[in-house]
């Protein structure tokens, strides 16, 4: 029996010219697990919105064709009727919570449905026990990690007892371990017979579960694979479609990167010694130290470690944003004060939305860079290198996620700072954008910048970095060159469950 039937659907969002969806035909049987993938902006999120009724009830636009869920046409049902059939989990766990406590959050949907208090309490305890997240009961939402938030989001839809689950990039903000746990939760939902639709960039963690993979491009469904067929695709096929890898087992470093000409590079020497940070008596960082000298292999350095281990705090200390710390930092053998450090170093933070202030890409690159020599020439050069020349006068907020990310990187490139830090530059990016960030960082590195990247994106790290500094329990736990022999070591470090969490 088909629980979802979409036939001949075309959709255009109000106020846009490009069609969001073209000629979509999709039938999903009860209990099926369907994965939607494709580049950013390919229409996979739009397709999920057809199923949970956000189109046409919330996002308006021009819709033709027929969408039926459970035999009823979506545009004829009320949103709350659909809410009982289709449970939705979105990408950003921060913006889907209504209350500040995990229990009342799970109760929220049931309360909306007007259930009796006995029934609501029954469903709450059921949701926590079935999803095996009893340890998250009665916690403050603010104290949860991204992975835990995503589990609560799933639990709060579970409590509404839908028969279909729609998840839109649920792993975008999760580390490898949390992603794996999410995969396990979805597996148990599948085993209970629910129909599941997931739209994703990260594919590897779902390969055992999916019945069908749909590849979308420009609003159309182009390819349909089983997981065996998908795993058999060549690297070339995957890269051509702008996808991420279907499996983490066969990831290889890009060989051309290993053959870079080193002579032209002259990155600064960098020494951090005994960096300690204490938060109310608890050592977050305890005498962290590492050095990059002329004798070391010149490469981009990846900083890894479980969520909450203090990676971002470390970077903030290094570049002088966070002042309460101990230890010394030397660049080219000189100890630098806080202020000097913020001139020498530049930090690209995780969320691009907070880092764009002006009304055009060009102004954005000028902002704060007025001390740079030949500023205009440099801006031309960087825009060209990052493929942003066409967007010179565009408002940054009108750009796509990947383009915004490139603008923040561009302003780091224009800046005179020699040492650049990046915090999770690829979270939520599709394969093509991820690879382009990797190429850009490599390019900057070849021009003599010393680059540190915080990331838990294995595919990206392997593509980009030549050395890994792994933090654990507040200090440097592992520091090793990344090559074909150590890739498996990196993988096991990233998948390791941190007992602190």
């Amino acid at each position: 029996m088909n629980v979802i039937e979409i036939s001949n659907v075309n959709f255009t969002y109000q106020g846009t010219k490009d069609s969001g969806l073209k000629n979509i035909n999709l039938k999903v049987k009860k209990g099926e697990f369907v994965l939607l993938t494709g580049r950013s902006g390919c229409g996979k999120t739009t397709l999920t919105r057809l199923i949970n009724g956000l189109i046409p009830h919330f996002f308006s636009g021009e819709l033709t064709g027929k969408v039926a869920v459970d035999g009823t046409e979506v545009h004829q049902s009320f949103t709350y009727e659909l809410a009982e059939k289709v449970g939705s989990v979105f990408q950003d766990p921060r913006s889907q919570f209504f209350t500040t406590n995990t229990i009342s959050e799970v109760a929220f949907g049931c309360e909306n449905l007007g259930l009796s208090s006995a029934e609501i309490n029954q469903r709450i305890s059921d949701a926590f026990s079935t999803l095996q997240i009893e340890n998250l009961k009665n916690r403050s939402i603010f104290s949860l990690s991204s992975g835990e938030k995503q589990k609560i989001a799933l639990a709060s839809t579970y409590a509404m007892r839908p028969s279909i689950y729609v998840l839109d990039e649920p792993s975008a903000n999760l580390d490898i371990h949390a992603t794996k746990r999410l995969g396990e939760l979805l597996k148990s939902l599948k085993e209970q017979g629910y129909t599941i639709i997931v739209s994703e960039h990260r594919l590897y963690y779902l390969m055992e579960l999916v019945d069908r993979i749909l590849y979308m491009k420009d609003g159309e469904i182009i390819d349909e694979w089983t997981s065996e067929q998908a795993l058999a695709l060549s690297d070339h096929e995957i890269v051509k479609r702008g996808l991420r890898a279907f499996s983490l087992n066969n990831l290889k470093q890009i060989e051309e990167r290993l053959e870079q000409p080193f002579e032209s590079m002259n990155p600064p020497e960098f020494i951090a010694k005994d960096i300690s940070v204490t938060f109310s008596g608890h050592h977050l960082l305890n005498q962290v130290g590492f050095s990059v000298t002329k004798q070391d292999i010149q490469c981009i350095i990846g900083i890894t470690g479980a969520n909450g281990v203090g990676k971002t705090t470390l970077i903030k200390c290094l570049c002088g944003l966070f002042k309460k710390r101990f230890g010394t930092i030397k660049i080219n053998k000189k100890v630098l004060s806080n202020r000097k450090r913020s001139d020498e170093m530049y930090f690209v933070m995780q969320d691009t939305d907070y880092q764009l202030f002006t009304e055009s890409v060009e102004y954005e690159l000028m902002l704060g860079n007025n001390k740079v020599k030949d500023l205009n020439k440099k801006i031309d050069e960087v825009l060209n290198m990052l493929g942003l020349t066409a967007y010179r006068s565009t408002h940054p907020m009108a750009l796509s996620g990947g383009q915004k990310q490139r603008v923040t990187i561009a302003s780091a490139a224009v800046n005179s700072a020699k040492v650049l830090f990046f915090d999770e530059p690829t979270s939520g990016l599709d394969g093509k954008n991820m690879r382009s960030v990797s190429r850009i960082l490599t390019n900057l590195h070849q021009r003599g910048k010393l680059i540190f990247v915080i990331s838990h994106d294995l595919e990206f790290l392997i593509n980009t970095c030549g050395r890994i500094i792994h933090l654990q329990n507040g200090s440097v736990d592992e520091d090793f060159p990344l090559n074909s022999d150590t890739v498996s070591k990196l993988k096991s470090l990233l998948s390791y469950e941190n007992s602190n969490l």
Binding site: F58, Y80, S95, F98, T99, T100, S104, L113, F142, F347
Partner: protein
């Protein structure tokens, strides 16, 4: 700020219906205008301390005592000056001291009532859902604004835009733009996502909303209300000089 909102359990003796707390807030507001003497203010704070202890909000009790204590000593100290800027500051401090009970009320309303309970309570007093949900979500977002501001400040620092008193005085409009542009962009995005999340979780269903707890007045609610009213009458008479 302690952002934890504990899910309260109505079977506990110290669970007071949010509607009763709303009435208490109203009465406390009126009492602010009744009270004129320092002793009255201190009595008012003392009563709020008792309430907060009863509700189990010990951290808030400590903060309320500190706040009142510091302001009270300052008022005492500044009252030796009769003119000049010190007297002016004295008046300001005194005004802040007078509003100390409000801090207690604020703690009571925000730390002992969860958003869901508040929505339910407001709905029972027949406020339309468009108001109740907006209010609940706004309350939910207060702490988030602080967090977002911190990230924006950091990212301004990296871009060599200093954010301090001097730079704000020098170019107030520009500084406002630098803070507001990213903040507004975030809000627009968060507001849309949040509204969509509400829709897919059945917010548009009309009729009486369910509740995790069964909402009704209990014995302790009446006792609590009675005590608040008796206290208000006592304080009124105290201020009018009937009982001294």
């Amino acid at each position: 700020m302690n952002q934890e909102l504990i899910v309260t359990n109505p079977s506990n003796i110290n669970y007071i219906d949010p509607r009763v707390k709303l009435i208490h807030t109203l009465i406390a507001g009126i009492l602010l205008f009744v009270v004129r003497s320092n002793e009255g203010v201190l009595l008012n704070v003392a009563f709020m301390i008792v309430v907060l202890v009863f509700l189990g909000l010990y951290g808030c009790v400590l903060r309320l005592i500190t706040y009142t204590g510091v302001l009270f000593l300052l008022t005492k100290f500044l009252s030796y000056f009769t003119d000049g800027p010190a007297a002016l500051i004295g008046v300001t401090v005194y005004i802040f001291l007078k509003f100390a009970p409000v801090l207690g009320i604020y703690y009571m309303m925000t730390k002992s009532i969860s958003a869901s309970e508040l929505v339910n309570a407001l709905e029972r007093i027949r406020l339309p859902r468009s108001i109740t949900i907006t209010l609940a979500v706004t309350l939910r977002f207060m702490p988030t604004i602080g967090q977002e501001m911190k990230i924006i400040r950091d990212s301004m620092k990296i871009r060599n835009i200093p954010f301090n008193l001097w730079s704000v005085l020098k170019a107030p409009i520009m500084m406002m733009e630098f803070v507001l542009v990213p903040l507004m962009m975030r809000f627009v995005k968060v507001a849309e996502e949040l509204a969509a999340a509400a829709v897919v979780r059945g917010i548009e269903k009309s009729g009486r909303r369910g509740s995790m707890f069964d909402v009704r007045f209990r014995k302790q609610d009446f006792i609590y209300l009675l005590i608040v009213i008796l206290y208000a009458i006592f304080l009124y008479n105290f201020e009018m000089g009937v009982i001294i």
